[in-house]
Symmetry: C2
DNA sequence: ATGTTTTACGCAAACGTTTGAGTAGTTGCG
DNA sequence: CGCAACTACTCAAACGTTTGCGTAAAACAT
């Protein structure tokens, strides 16, 4: 591979001059510039980023840590982060940390540290104490999406309020008997907050909360399916189901389809996320839109502008389609 | 940030020794090793990969270029590539190149070159001549998934045969009137090959091909929806639709749902990919399974083993669910 | 006791780039 | 004409590692 020295030799100048030309740093005359650029092109010169970053100490690298792509909202976020990064000449280092795998998360952090990333964007990653301390000790700024992480900036919707509004929306649409599925009360962030929002909305509407109507689970299709089978086979089935994700909502839809339950006539289904699947299932899901693209974009902006400490709450909307 | 020199100073040895200890290179005694490791830990030492790679000339970096994540099969591939990479201590540099954006693809290649990746995995990326030449001139090995790229290794299914088998499967299931949707005859790879497979199967079954039954489009939900509306509103609607992707199949399902067409009683739908959506739509899609996870894994293996020139054809299966 | 091998380091160069400081040669100004 | 200010460079150090070579000291063999 051609280096700056090869170019220098051919052009009859020193590497310094070549470097200045290639970086448009000024301090050379037009003829030299043209000559150097022509030789660089003919040699297929590619700057060695390792050398460059070593001396320059800036990496133009943003680390992105996601749990895994199955979570359905990872894709749009990665897309927008990548696009924003591209527009700013920044590169993306991607790593998966799995679901609750401190060891792998640690590996991810080491990776990012070794690459001297200017910042990390984590998507729905829960930090355990060890890794949080480790991160803090390394002084790498972090922007967390979807969940908040102590001492670091975050970008998320107001989960309590969103669950409140979703529940209220169902109630006002005539569904008093509304269940909440796919929430994990052990998850202090999303799960618990959405349960709180649901409870608050029921209380404010003076509807007693039936605890059987809160069905625990993760955000998966299966969780939705199982919850539906438990709820809808019971003696007192709900008239509406509020799922904690679109995938879970799709699970509900699937159960309903199998048992010939008409949506929304016999059962209303409200999703959460407005992920890709929300638009393509039948009937199309009424859901709570999370502005993933905007969140990814904002995360990159924050890292560029070094705004690491504020928490941003972004707006969601209830997106009406066919399922309620 | 602490460097190897800081450790050396504290430990009373030279950087060489520290380096050897940290790399488990041998040539030090146990006491020194323990001392160095303890100091390194206490200083939160992180190897500067830039310096390391600069001298070592190996990057442990694999570049991944995808068009965009919306293509629904990007996610499982990225997941498996990332997992395989993780198990081999390799990092992933991710870049999007958009759909037909030579300029951005060029940018991606520059990025990869600058980072001195050991290899590039491209997912469903079509190389124009300029970029192909550019890639070749840079001598970076490439493994292409889903499409084949001249002079470089690829991993894909046999699209002609898969479309043939899918069509044959529909015919043998009793559907003589089978349409093919979501294919682009301008796409010499996937599109054209699947059309060929479809035609071959029809011919072999002695069924005349009705050209109206081949509806052009991309792989999107909308393409499937539009194709369905064109086909099913016609005077001679097909009894089965073979979609070129699960997303397109979901579009067909959606149209059918809107017009109260029963699946599979009145219309059979066969998808393609077995992406995440295939399992969660209602009814669940019978589809052609592409082993994305295996493909990603294999791609990483090939790069590690430096097998850049073979084309691998991986196996698909027809996965029977509810839609046919 | 002498010679040989091994161990456990140190030394210094190298990787490719950037950048502050230095310097010929040219231009401008009064 | 003399001095300052530029221009267009060159020089050399620096970034943090790795690694081949060198070498004292220790261990072993004869």
């Amino acid at each position: 591979m051609a280096t700056i020295k090869d170019i220098a030799k051919q052009a009859g100048v020193t590497p310094s001059t070549v470097s200045r030309v290639l970086n448009h740093a000024g301090g050379y005359n037009e003829a030299t510039k043209i000559k150097v650029e022509k030789i660089a092109a003919s040699l297929h010169y590619q700057k060695n980023e390792y050398a460059s970053n070593l001396v320059g100490k800036k990496s133009n690298l943003i680390g992105v840590i996601i749990t895994d792509s199955k979570s359905s909202f990872a894709s749009p976020i990665i897309d927008s982060v990548e696009d924003s990064a591209y527009q700013n000449g920044i590169r993306i280092l991607l790593a998966h940390c799995g679901q609750n795998d401190p060891q792998r998360l640690r590996f991810c952090l080491d990776l990012m540290a070794g690459q001297k990333v200017t910042g990390i964007i984590s998507v729905a990653v829960q930090f355990d104490n060890d890794n949080l301390n480790y991160l803090n000790s390394m002084q790498i700024p972090l922007i967390s999406l979807n969940v908040s992480v102590p001492d670091h900036g975050s970008i998320k919707i107001d989960d309590v309020q969103a669950a409140y509004d979703g529940t209220k929306f169902l109630i006002e649409s005539g569904y008093q008997k509304t269940a909440l599925v796919g929430v994990d009360s052990n998850d202090p962030q999303t799960g618990l907050q959405r349960i709180t929002g649901y409870r608050n909305a029921m209380n404010d509407a003076n509807i007693p909360v039936n605890n059987d109507y809160i069905v625990e689970g993760d955000f998966s299709f299966d969780a939705g399916f199982k919850a539906a089978s438990k709820l809808l086979a019971s003696s007192n089935p709900p008239r509406a189901i509020f799922a904690a994700s679109d995938d879970a909502a799709a699970g509900v839809l699937s159960y309903a389809y199998d048992h010939n339950i008409k949506i929304p006539a016999e059962l209303a289904v409200l999703g959460f996320d407005n992920s890709h699947v929300a638009q393509i299932v039948t009937p199309a899901l009424t859901t709570i839109n999370q502005p993933f693209a905007k969140m990814g974009q904002l995360a990159v902006q924050k890292i560029i502008n070094k705004e690491f400490n504020e928490d941003s709450i972004v707006k969601y909307q209830i997106l009406k389609r066919q399922s309620v």
